[in-house]
């Protein structure tokens, strides 16, 4: 019996990343712009997505994919109530969506004629950061009640995003959230990151986000 060391050097999540590429190709074939929305539970993902749907519904046809750990349709029902297509993916307790789950979920969402799809990931700041889905943008909804130290504690999440929403700005007067400290952490991890402070509840700050998103979608379509 001989013992040999074999070099491997293979990324552990390579298999996931390959399926993510297939998802991306699927979106592109249908000319659908996909946004992966991540956040901790209760940060306001659903509220933010609903507000965005409302503000953009005159211009784009949109759909939502809801990632949930359990077969509870609370979030999906809110999207259905707007008359928009929604698909729920139950992760069966898993703390994140991965590319394979999304791939399966996409089988029951006809993308024909859909311009934009929002993917509400499972509420968690750790795991979704590691699993690419194939979306065109990765978005994080931070919220002021979570505290200003989150970039420092969840660096992988803040490293991997393309746009940051700071939600629940309406609560600032009641919190000791230090915006400068928060943004300093963000700047270390992701210099120049596009950031939009908003209140998904009152609508404050949403127009800057909507204008930016509209621009990004237009640019993407020209490519």
């Amino acid at each position: 019996m001989t013992s040999t060391r074999i070099p491997v050097v293979e990324k552990i999540l390579d298999a996931n990343d390959q399926v993510a590429q297939q998802n991306r190709a699927w979106f592109d074939r249908h000319r659908t712009f996909a946004i992966n929305v991540m956040a901790s539970p209760g940060a306001g993902k659903t509220t933010f997505i609903l507000k965005t749907l409302e503000l953009l519904s005159a211009k784009y046809r949109m759909a939502v994919i809801e990632g949930d750990t359990a077969p509870v349709t609370i979030d999906s029902d809110k999207v259905s109530a707007l008359g928009l297509p929604v698909v729920q993916i139950n992760t069966g307790g898993d703390c994140h969506l991965d590319a394979v789950m999304l791939h399966a979920g996409l089988q029951s969402l006809p993308l024909e004629g859909i311009d934009v799809v929002f993917i509400e990931n499972v509420g968690n700041l750790i795991c979704p950061a590691a699993f690419k889905l194939g979306s065109h943008r990765n978005l994080l909804v931070a919220s002021t009640p979570e505290g200003d130290d989150k970039p420092y504690k969840y660096p992988n999440m803040y490293r991997g995003i393309d746009v940051l929403i700071i939600n629940k700005m309406d609560l600032m007067p009641y919190l000791d959230f230090n915006m400068a400290y928060f943004q300093q952490g963000v700047e270390i991890l992701n210099p120049g990151l596009r950031t939009f402070p908003v209140s998904a509840k009152t609508g404050e700050g949403m127009s800057a986000w909507i204008n930016w998103l509209d621009e990004v979608i237009q640019q993407h379509r020209q490519q």
Binding site: T4, R5, P7, E10, I12, N16, A129
Partner: protein
């Protein structure tokens, strides 16, 4: 936690590379995990013992090489490492930092046993 998914992926990679050289047994697996890549705790070992059972990876030892986050201070060029939460430059206290390492997340190598001559 996503440790089960991670563990399954490690097993798939190890089996594939071991089969390529017709190995009879995998005895060791070396993983490199950067602080900024993904958080993976000791439960990987727990899942490993379950899922590697009845494969040629059964009883293989998992070795974790944990790589700290490496930062460079933009103001004074000091390079330093942080293991847990981000911290300012230890020399000048600046928070103006570049991330230069810590995003690794891969299977580096495996040790296999094979009948007869060296591979």
């Amino acid at each position: 936690m996503h440790e089960l998914a991670v563990t399954e992926s490690v097993l798939e990679i190890a089996l594939r590379h071991a089969n390529q050289v017709n190995a009879e047994r995998v005895t060791d697996i070396f993983l490199v995990i950067g602080r900024l890549s993904s958080i993976v705790d000791d439960s990987v070992q727990f899942y490993w013992n379950m899922i590697a059972e009845n494969t040629i990876c059964q009883n293989a030892n998992l070795h974790f090489k944990r790589v700290p986050a490496r930062l460079r201070c933009v103001d004074c060029q000091m390079e330093f490492e942080v293991q847990d939460s981000l911290s300012p430059c230890p020399r000048c206290n600046s928070f103006h930092l570049d991330v230069i390492g810590g995003e690794e997340f891969y299977v580096e190598s495996i040790i296999v046993e094979k009948e007869g001559a060296a591979i």
